[in-house]
Amino acid sequence: MREDKIIHACLRGKARAQRTLYEQYRTPMFLLCLRYMPTREDAEDVLQEGFIKVFRDLKQFDAKKAKLKTWMNRVFINTALEHLRSKKKIFKTEEIEPYQELQVTNDEIFSKLSVQELVKMISSLPTGYRLVFNMYVMEGYTHKEIAESLKISVNTSKSQLFKAKAMLRKQVKSAYSLAETAYEK
């Protein structure tokens, strides 16, 4: 069924169309939730809440302005942010270790890591790092947009991104070392 027909049917409250839309987008949206939330349980909560909002607000979606996936991404990101805000303070000062050179500069290191491991790495980031990294790197927001959305300064956004990347590098290196060790053995 074409996407516009599915949307139309969803707007009329058709249960089958709603299920189809859910099936179509549950995996990408769940990946997004996993990236934003610290645990799988939290990600599932946000996924459920996000889909309820999608079906509730679907009439606000304008196909001329954005793709459905883009619009849904925004709904799920907002839901995740609301969820995080309600739970605790998003940003807290966290010290990271001094910068350490990553010896591997090619993609080889990443080919040895699964998507699941990468997602886990992102999830394990402190909340502030995780949000800025996701919004800047994955969703393509600018620092100004992130700052407005998270109610922080642009410099804070930049610094959080820097620290997030540094921490990820560290995690990648660690995971790579483990993988190499396992390979050598």
Binding site: Q18, R35, Q48, D107, V115
Partner: protein
């Protein structure tokens, strides 16, 4: 610089790998089925609310339609409250049922001498019966009778009016007077209405109302309301299949209720109400007088009798009316008749109900079910007025009917239990001089009542009321 490039490269690689994997279905990236069950449960709730809204609008429309076109509907479906009794059976029936026919002083004067006189009770004088005709009974006789053989007291007055323009005007000018009164009642509401419309534009009031209901569990809501109902009923006495009839019945209610909030959706309530039921039946009919079909009372009076099946609690009080005197009419004469009946009773009632409320846009919709205990606090008041027009003269008569002592049909302090169900909408608003949140509500209502109207009845009388009430409520904080 190298550091930054490496870090940017990390971000880029993360983005590429995750984007490529976003549509891949793997076990770890597949949410549990419980997520869909949760989403679907919420969607089902929305669908249910949508259906409730449609049902609400349908019933609301039905209620409005019933008030506007109820009488026409009755006619279309042939649901009439009057039944013509075969005239030939009247005497036989009277004898069988021991119907009380009161001998009152005849108000009938000799037509040659008193045709133009206007008579009242005090002016009534006995007259000698015509030759070969037995002693004339009362010329306008009213009786309550039928299945349960109720005795009857009749207080009779009679007026005979000449057909004069001024007197006709009296009948015709009554409706406009009522109309003026009706308009006057609505004047103060105009101001209130404009306030409410302004308040409706304020979303904050709506969200406040919901928030308060959610947060203030266990607090109370006080409501005051007034309602108007029309009734459907089943014929209670017949041993045959119960027949559904519509009667042009109007019932006014006034109520004050207190509701306790249980949670966001549920509340329970009770209160006290007053109910004044007026059962009206107005007949207009023409008949052509025919000597061949004439049915005379023993005194030679022409009789045209109608059985009026009274609604609801008054059902046993079927009435027969003899309207026209044969001495007043001529062979082949077209006689228009009009008969007005009204019966009134009053109840106090105490409802006990539960209410389920949902938020829909700026309104709150609710459904309510419960039971109501009703106590009869009044006597039966019955009024009858009949008019006939012939020989260029209008005859207007009125009688008062009271149930005799010992009648078991209507007894003061009678108790009945009724069930109620209704749906309604609430419109929150607030006043500037108080922080309390108020709401207006409109509530189309369906109530059903089963009551045994007299001890020997084979079945209880069943009545269904369709109507609605409007009122205001305040959330106590």
């Amino acid at each position: 610089m190298k550091n930054e490039n490496q870090q940017d490269r990390i971000g880029e690689i993360f983005a590429q790998k995750l984007e490529a994997a976003s549509s891949e279905k793997a076990l770890w990236s597949t949410p549990s089925e419980a997520i869909w069950l949760g989403v679907n449960a919420e969607l089902r709730k929305k669908r249910r609310e949508r259906r409730l809204l449609v049902l609400f609008l349908f019933l609301f429309g039905l209620m409005i339609g019933f008030f506007l076109f109820g009488n026409q509907v009755m006619e279309w479906f042939g649901w009439e409250t009057k039944k013509e009794i075969p005239i030939a059976n009247i005497e036989q029936q009277r004898a069988k049922e021991n119907l009380l026919i009161l001998d009152s002083q005849s108000s009938r004067e000799n037509e040659e001498t008193n045709q133009n006189a206007v008579l009242d009770n005090s002016a009534m004088t006995p007259t000698a019966p015509p030759p070969n005709v037995p002693k004339q009974k009362n010329l306008f006789q009213g009786a309550l009778a039928s299945s349960n053989l109720l005795p009857l007291n009749v207080n009779e007055t009679e007026e005979r009016l000449e057909k004069q323009a001024s007197e006709i005007t009296v009948f015709e000018t009554t409706p406009p007077e009522k109309e003026e009164m009706f308009e006057a009642q609505f004047e103060p509401i105009t101001n209130l209405q404009s306030d409410v419309i302004a308040l409706l534009e304020n979303d904050e009031i709506v969200s406040n109302f919901e928030e308060k209901i959610i947060k203030q569990r266990g607090t109370w809501i006080i409501e005051a309301s007034s309602g108007l109902y029309n009734s459907l009923r089943r014929y209670p006495i017949s041993t045959e299949e119960l027949e559904l009839e519509i009667t042009p019945t109007s019932t006014w209610t006034f109520a004050a209720n207190a509701e306790k909030i249980i949670n966001k959706n549920w509340s329970v309530g009770t209160g006290i109400g007053y109910r004044a039921a007026e059962f009206d039946a107005n007949y207009d009919l023409n008949f052509m007088y025919s000597k061949a079909e004439e049915s005379r009372s023993p005194d030679g009076g022409f009789e045209k009798a109608y059985r009026h099946t009274l609604p609801s609690l008054l059902a046993p009080l079927d009435a027969e009316f003899i309207l026209v005197r044969s001495t007043d009419i001529a062979e082949g004469e077209d006689i228009p008749l009009s008969l007005e009946l009204s019966h009134g009773i009053q109840h106090l009632n105490i409802p006990l109900y539960t209410k389920y409320r949902i938020h829909f846009k700026k309104l709150f919709l609710y459904a309510k079910v419960g039971v109501t205990g009703n106590w009869l606090i009044s006597d039966l008041n019955t009024n009858h007025k009949g008019t006939e027009s012939h020989h260029d003269a209008i005859h207007s008569r009125s009688s008062n009917f009271d149930v005799a002592d010992g009648s078991k049909a209507i007894v003061k302090n009678d108790f009945s239990l009724s069930y109620l169900s209704s749906i309604g909408l609430q419109v929150p608003f607030s006043f500037s001089f108080t922080e309390n949140t108020h709401y207006l509500f409109l509530e189309p209502t369906f109530t059903g009542e089963i009551i045994s109207t007299y001890p020997d009845a084979a079945t209880g009388d069943k009545i269904i009321n369709l109507g609605g009430q409007i009122g205001v409520g305040i959330l106590l904080e």
